[in-house]
Amino acid sequence: MELQEFKTKVLPLKDRLFRIAVHLLKSAEEAEDALQDVMVRLWDKRGQLKEYRSVEAFAVTVTKNRCFDKLKSKKHKYHLDVQELEVDSGFESPYKRLELSESMQVMIRSFQELPEQQRLLITLRDLEGYSYEEIAEQTGLQVNNIRVGLSRARKAAREAYLKVADYEQQ
């Protein structure tokens, strides 16, 4: 794969890959860093890309792994104040520019507080609209486990949301 092909096949994925990274890392800056790394990695592996059934699935996998690695080392580094880190540094930056209603902010915060694996599933399915088969290829999970994971993630997000948002329960 030469530069031209890389530009037409891999580079256009960058917005998607960025979104996946930003929702996992909860920081635009870190997501940009991760995306640079991922692109470099994909470039290094360009000789191999042809062997993957889907370049996109491979790109998502690389992105996911890169983000999980980053999260792991971050947790390791700041393991004392994970809580603070997730709540404080998380919300502000990536979503600041969007004008959000108060209740949407609560919703997003609930999503952010999900475990990373659940956040990944929601991002891949609900945001990016990948099929179960595609997600299976990207994550290495079984379709059935993906369904179960999504179900849990969606329910957990709703639960967290309802705790804060004030609706009259029927």
Binding site: L3, L11, K14, D15, F18, R19, V22, H23, A28, E29, A31, E32, L35, Q36, M39, V40, W43, D44, R46, G47, Q48, E51, P94, Y95, L98, L100, S103, M104, V106, M107, I108, F111, T123, R125, D126, L127, G129, S131, I146, R147, V148, G149, L150, S151, R154, K155, A157, R158, Y161, L162, A165, Y167, Q170
Partner: protein, 254 residues
């Protein structure tokens, strides 16, 4: 409303991870509408969240930076293409077979190469020798002849050149060196013939002795003939004749 019932069913499916992509789209579209029934209001944010989160985009990701990085990488390292791992018995057999084949090819090429290498070296040496022999100074020619190394591939031209030097060079030291060089270069039979011929033509005692020594060194009893001839020659120095007798004695004993 009928459609509300449908939506409620879809919502339940959604929370059980059972909706298709199409159904999820339906839900999103529904909640983008106005007049969401009060009992479904609490779901709205969740179904609108996707659209909202998709708006997050990067301001600072620069393609130029990326390409600069890629260019730098391109220069510093070439791509290593790795095969995906498949470690079946068959692939291993192929690998072993390939390795063996490679080693054999290696030896074959190596063999050919070193032969070529030797021939090339020889030709180079010959060319230098010839050019240096044009030198008018005896020491230059002496140097040239002493530089002839014992490449064990006999080369006709090299031997002819050395023979010419041995017989014709005006300087006895150069002639002596040529005798030594010949011994190193030629095959036994060739050298024996040449030395025997030169022995009878040579009149300088020191060179004669060098030739006699070389003949003795060859360890070939057929050299005795020419040595005996030399002892019968007139005008040959007594010391040279003694050397020849000694040679005859040594060669006969062997």
């Amino acid at each position: 409303m009928n459609s509300n019932k449908d939506i409620e069913i879809l919502i339940e499916k959604y929370f059980n991870g059972e909706t298709s992509l199409e159904e999820e789209k339906q839900l999103q579209v529904f909640f983008q509408g106005e007049d969401i029934p009060a009992e479904l209001k609490s779901y709205q944010d969740q179904f609108l969240m996707s659209e909202t989160l998709k708006k997050v985009s990067s301001n600072n990701f620069s393609d130029d930076d990326l390409f600069a990085k890629l260019d730098a990488r391109e220069e510093q390292s070439r791509v290593v293409v790795m095969e995906p791992k498949r470690s079946t018995v068959l692939t291993w057999t192929y690998r072993v077979a390939a390795a063996v084949a490679l080693i054999m090819v290696g030896f074959w090429v190596g063999g050919r190469f070193s032969t070529n290498e030797e021939v090339k070296l020889m030709q180079q040496e010959l060319a230098t020798l010839k050019s240096q022999l044009q030198s008018s100074s005896a020491s230059g020619r002496l140097q040239a002849v002493s530089n002839v190394s014992g490449v064990k591939k006999s080369n006709k031209e090299m031997i002819l050149t050395l023979e010419a030097v041995m017989k014709n060079d005006p300087n006895m030291h150069v002639r002596t060196k040529a005798v030594e060089a010949l011994v190193k270069t030629g095959s036994k039979q060739e050298v024996l013939e040449l030395l025997s011929g030169a022995l009878l033509e040579e009149s300088e005692p020191a060179v004669q002795i060098a030739i006699i020594d070389a003949l003795i060194g060859l360890d070939e009893s057929s050299a005795i003939q020419s040595l005996e001839k030399l002892t019968e020659e007139e005008g040959v120095l007594k010391e040279v004749k003694d050397e020849a007798y000694l040679g005859i004695f040594k060669l006969k004993e062997m």
